[in-house]
Symmetry: C3
Subunit: 438 residues, 3 copies
């Protein structure tokens, strides 16, 4: 396996330490606490509506909900693979911890105050948001990339995200309070473009580790349920305080509830003997949160939010069942977690719903042309940015794992004596006492 140079001993620690030290230096020069003077917040949804927090800690509980989604939600959602749980939750932590620092810098440069980025709760919520794009893309390439490749992806994806976000929010002045377009669609298509460039013909017929075991599916449900519960905070955290924020909470709460029913129904409808499929339940139940994002703070009516959720649950489940296999076999996109079904299509649905809702006058001051431009911009930056990033990640010295070691923690982690191996050694104990210890 030396041809692949998967040994991380020097390249990973050196990269990680250098990145962190550079980041600290940049923070020393550019970053300070927000002392509340010289304000003028700008949400990524609509910079024309100035956001005023009344007290510095008002948004803190919402920040913590988003924080849980990023670190527990995304981290555990990806633990469904039988032998890739350490990487899922562990690399998720690594990428998000670096990404939030990088996001603070990249988002902050557009809004300097006296040459400084002034940090407050609103800013760290947005920093957490910026990491979500990376974690979504991580899902598309899960099990097939090294930590070094993923750190590089983090830098590039967040940098490009910050440009697109600035364009959408400040230049186009489009609405995207729950970030259907600028986080979910962007993160998904960015990741899919990377996955396309990193296509592995050798995995065309699957891989023995690309599946779950009983308990890994339960660990994944921890991620699913935390994402599901706190999604109202994700979609409302940066909404205008008061009734607008309440609207965002209620729309998201109801869209997700409706989405659960349709995801369960379609899963049962398309599966063998009407059984439910854990992949659908773990993912498609969340599509309602993605799809209602752009419209979350609009006056679409509770039933409007539920309709969006209902449709999102249907297309997401159908995507897992019918579209993902086609993408893998015909388009060369091996999307490990099915981010196209959870974030891609529902993200576009959210963008389209936003265009319709703004056309119908559901958001004061909204402009459907700018909404469409925001969707196009997000998709464009994602596909081009993802493709370029993919080619950089494909360079042969980043320690990409060989096909046979994909979806396997033991390449990058010290893995303990495990139940399965244990079993094997026990089962074989009668025959070869000597090799019992694995």
């Amino acid at each position: 396996m030396p041809a692949y140079a998967t040994n991380m001993r020097l390249k990973f620690p050196i990269l990680a330490l250098i990145l962190e030290i550079i980041t600290i230096i940049l923070f020393a020069v550019f970053v300070d606490y927000d002392d509340g003077k010289g304000h003028g917040h700008d949400s990524h949804s609509n910079s024309s509506e100035t956001h005023h927090e009344e007290k510095p800690m008002d948004l803190y509980p919402m920040f913590q909900d988003v924080h849980v989604m990023i670190f527990i939600g995304f981290g555990f959602l990806m633990t469904f693979l039988k032998r890739y749980g350490f990487s899922s939750v562990g690399i998720n932590l690594l990428l998000a911890a670096f990404g939030l620092q990088w996001g603070l810098l990249m988002q902050g440069v557009w809004h300097l105050v006296d040459g400084k980025i002034k940090i407050n709760i609103f800013k760290i919520i947005n920093a957490d948001f910026s990491t979500a794009t990376v974690l979504i893309s991580f899902g598309a390439v899960l099990g097939k990339t090294s930590p070094v490749q993923l750190l590089i992806m983090t830098i590039l994806e967040i940098t490009i995200f910050s440009i697109n976000e600035h364009l959408v929010a400040t230049v186009l002045e489009a609405n995207d309070v729950g970030a259907s377009m600028i986080i979910h669609a962007y993160g998904a298509y960015f990741g899919l473009a990377v996955a396309r460039v990193l296509y592995r013909p050798g995995l065309r017929n699957g891989h023995e580790n690309e599946g779950s075991v009983y308990h890994s599916d339960l660990f994944a449900m921890i991620g699913t349920v935390f994402l599901w519960m706190f999604w109202p905070s994700f979609n409302s955290a940066i909404a205008d305080p008061g009734l607008t924020q309440l609207t965002a909470v209620i729309n998201t709460y109801l869209s997700l509830a409706a989405c659960v029913l349709s995801a369960y129904a379609i899963s049962s409808l398309v599966e063998h003997k009407g059984k439910l499929d854990m992949v659908h339940i773990q993912n498609a139940t969340l599509a309602g949160g993605v799809a209602v994002g752009t419209c979350a703070d609009m006056n679409i009516g509770p039933f409007g939010a539920m309709l969006i959720g209902l449709v999102a649950g249907i297309i997401s489940t159908l995507g897992f069942k019918f579209l993902s296999p086609i993408l893998a076999s015909s388009v060369g996109i091996q999307d490990t977690c099915g981010v196209h079904n959870l974030h891609g299509m529902p993200g576009i649905l959210g963008g389209l719903a936003g265009i319709v809702a703004v056309s119908l006058g559901k958001k004061e001051g909204g402009d459907p042309v700018m909404q469409a431009a925001a969707l196009a911009s997000s998709l464009g930056f994602a596909l081009v940015g993802g493709a370029v990033t993919g080619f950089i990640m494909k360079l042969p010295f980043w320690g990409q794992p060989p096909d046979q070691n994909c979806y396997d923690d033991s390449l990058y982690w010290e893995v303990p004596e495990e139940e399965d191996e244990n079993e094997e050694s026990l089962a074989h104990a009668d025959h070869s006492k000597n090799k019992a210890e694995v």
Copy 2:
């Protein structure tokens, strides 16, 4: 197995989709956002004390705590069974997601404003609460009912709950801030009545899947601990703001702490060699939260709350050890999760404590006769409603599982090749080397 018609392919998806579409239509006609005009909240505990939120999002952090209890708490608490984790956390999500929509409608019809149900944070907390009754009853019939049966139970149980809640809070004007009576006792006895009607003689001697494995018990502890931690929010969420709410938090915090000590002590006292039993720890440690519910916002003194918790932990643990086997063998009630011990008896204890506390003048304006009437009403609606619901659920076309497939996810879920099965195939490797690699 065709006689049981457990194949869900058509009946489950059709029922789920029709229910959701009807619900969306009802929302389109009757439901709107609460714009803060024409208020006049009504808590289910005491409608005479009008509840005033100062800002629309004030209760949001408490809502999220309750949300976690409903979806993570109840969901994972029931994952203790070795082969029923998917259903526990998955069907929990399904029932709660539908139930909260139904609860919004059923609770809302009593308090229309201009012919509309106006949603706010207070309303969605109550919607979450209404689902708790179903999730408690779910525990009594866990492993022995189909998703179709459970959706039917959800509709009926929440509808009847809303009638009883209205009676208790608005007509009787009884106190039940933490819902010992109207949620816990009601949910438990409703579920026990259903379980009695669905009695399975074939499971009289147990079932090989009706037990835990090491890791399933740890998953269940996730549910236990989240319920335990956030219970102060459950009991105080709809209390009057300020010192009354603080009292509800402190009483619940202390009752639960005292309850842990007594549950551990009694578990060790009654078990073989003084060992602790996970069933007791997972459940009886929570009885203090149930039992202090009715009195939570009363001036019972910190030590009063602790005494209630101490007693609750004792009777709950003793119930698991001595009463549950008798209920199963002599009364024909097979209570899978022991909801009688966690919600039933502690709920009644809570109702009785409320009568005593009100008699002693611990709640301004309280009337012990009305408290007693509220307890009787809750038990009456539960037993009659549960029995009727049980007979409807017993109709032979809802896909009820046959005895031998009880407590087994694989009837309703695609279940991955699992460690256990793996082991078996490995253990059989001696006979058929070819199929050893799964």
Copy 3:
């Protein structure tokens, strides 16, 4: 095994019930709700700055974050051992539930109002904090002590903690808002002193159960990530409201993020083939939260916080790799969870950083001499108090487990037929068909 008297049947239940009943009596005499009159809060960080909550429930969301850290965070962090998960999360719950009651009393006696301890949210946050010291020490002796021994440790450690806290906060008026010194360093060295006294030569060469399995490491990551996410609440909960509290949040958020990068880098650098070690990831990623504690509310600059986190991640990981084996072999300290690396050294680092920061004028009114005295006092009380407590715990009638039963739940818990055992029986099925079905 009768010589060890590990049977808990009488001594554990009697001790637990007597302790709880005494506690309830003390609460009846001394404790009441805080009605908001006659205030005058005192934080353990700086009693000279009076802490004013504007409304009784303002701190409640932060309290719940801390609560999650205590019960989920500490509890699951220790589930990494393959056969000790029940004890980790279960005994954690027991000790914390008793400890918070005891802490309310011990901390409260220093601040009586009209002869009463008046409970509010601020007080229950501090009560939760007091239990953290015990849970840290629990990590040092995990797997080698009985529940009876641990209850005794809880009483003594919290009592001594309350004396040191009073000395540090009120007499010395030192700053320690995030409690690097009075909780982390104190808890760690107290536990290490106990571990030294309870040294077991028989475990010099390790124990077969002193390791993890794949899924136990994932359970532990639940604890790690919840601790990591909510640490900003831990370090800021009792800070002065407003910008000071915001500073504490931001410093902790950034210190932890930087710490992740250095912990991962050093783990890969020192491990075989550059692989990551779960022990480091589960623990050293949190050292940044510990080390920034004392300075969290000081004006050290965001980059200052990141530097502290960077250094903490490095020394913590190096400690696990190089120092822990030496402590075990040469000093006779068998530190099961490596609390010296997560809480001990980073706690001292935090104390030293506080001295430097105060010297540089980063905290108004701070005095570096008093900071140094606070660190010395915390270490002194820890070492002396821990040694005395260790000798009391060593008395032969507390049911301490024999060497061969260490790290094994089955000594104190009814443990279900588990996967591993299952496997074994299946593997043996060829030989004895009759006992195959378990």
